[in-house]
Symmetry: C2
Subunit: 174 residues, 2 copies
């Protein structure tokens, strides 16, 4: 009887681990609509292209990172960016830092607060030929963001067609 | 006579290359005062810790990056940070983007303009025991920035002693 109990407990434990693994994997494997893009693994480790602040409705601080193909193209000024390049924009709420302001003695410091969402531009000149070779996606907590209307992405990038539809410029090393 | 000319030209070419190499090397090898820190190679490739905007006299946009030891410690919440950890803060002028504002239809977009300077915090609990285990440095274009008074760094970091003298918090992945 004791042996059966141990087996049942072991089986439940295995199932629980399997379920956790499935949930974690499911969160990252769900493709965003329209362009069918999945959240690329390891993007939080990618190298920095630049930083920005959007006021207005966005009211965020953002970092723009690139995978190795994108970074190489940015640094060498390669246009259009080659297939396989992925650019990601991570954003956080634009949050005043009381702690920092105390040290500076004035209201001047704004830091990254709660994460808002992450966007991707994925270059595939054949697959996304109708949108300048770029596919667009937006995720939050690893899942496609239902708030994002991805059909509106490309038209907004057309004004910078001469820079291969990319607004962000590479920030020079200080 | 022709052979001598060729030799002279070759010698000049060798000297020119040597001078270029010396200049490039010299720019990266010069240690900043007070803590004797040299600009760490490859820091522009380090992973992102967070982003911020300082208004006031700084008026910049900044990215805080870490070497692998620092990033691991931030992600695992290790305090104090281990020896070998290096944190770098890169800054650029806080620059309105007319190009972006046109698309948004309002004045809301601020991007990284000209690079201002780069700062480093280098953890060595023995070498920098008198300043909480941290050495401080500031560079511009690879050379120690003569404008920086590095003796003022540590006192400003004392208020966050409980976070091992580091103001920046790790920005969660959106």
């Amino acid at each position: 009887m004791k042996r059966i109990s141990i087996l049942v407990v072991a089986a439940i434990a295995v199932c629980a681990i399997a379920l956790i693994a499935f949930a974690a994997s499911g969160a990252n494997d769900e493709a965003a609509p329209v362009f069918g893009i999945k959240s690329p693994p390891g993007f939080r480790d990618w190298k920095l292209i630049s930083v920005a602040h959007e006021a207005g409705n966005n009211n965020d601080l953002r970092a723009v990172l690139g995978n190795d193909i994108a970074i190489k193209a940015f640094r060498e000024g390669t246009l259009p960016l080659p297939d396989g390049a992925i650019i990601t924009r991570l954003a956080w709420t634009y949050t005043p830092s009381e702690e920092n302001n105390k040290v500076f003695g004035r209201e001047q410091s704004f830091v990254a607060g709660a994460p808002t969402n992450v966007q991707f531009m994925v270059k595939d000149s054949k697959k996304y030929a109708e949108t300048g070779g770029w596919g667009f996606a937006q995720f939050k907590d690893g899942k496609p963001d239902p708030k994002a209307d991805l059909n509106t992405c490309f038209p907004c990038h057309v004004p910078v067609k001469e820079r291969d539809y990319v607004y962000t410029k590479y920030a020079p090393t200080p």
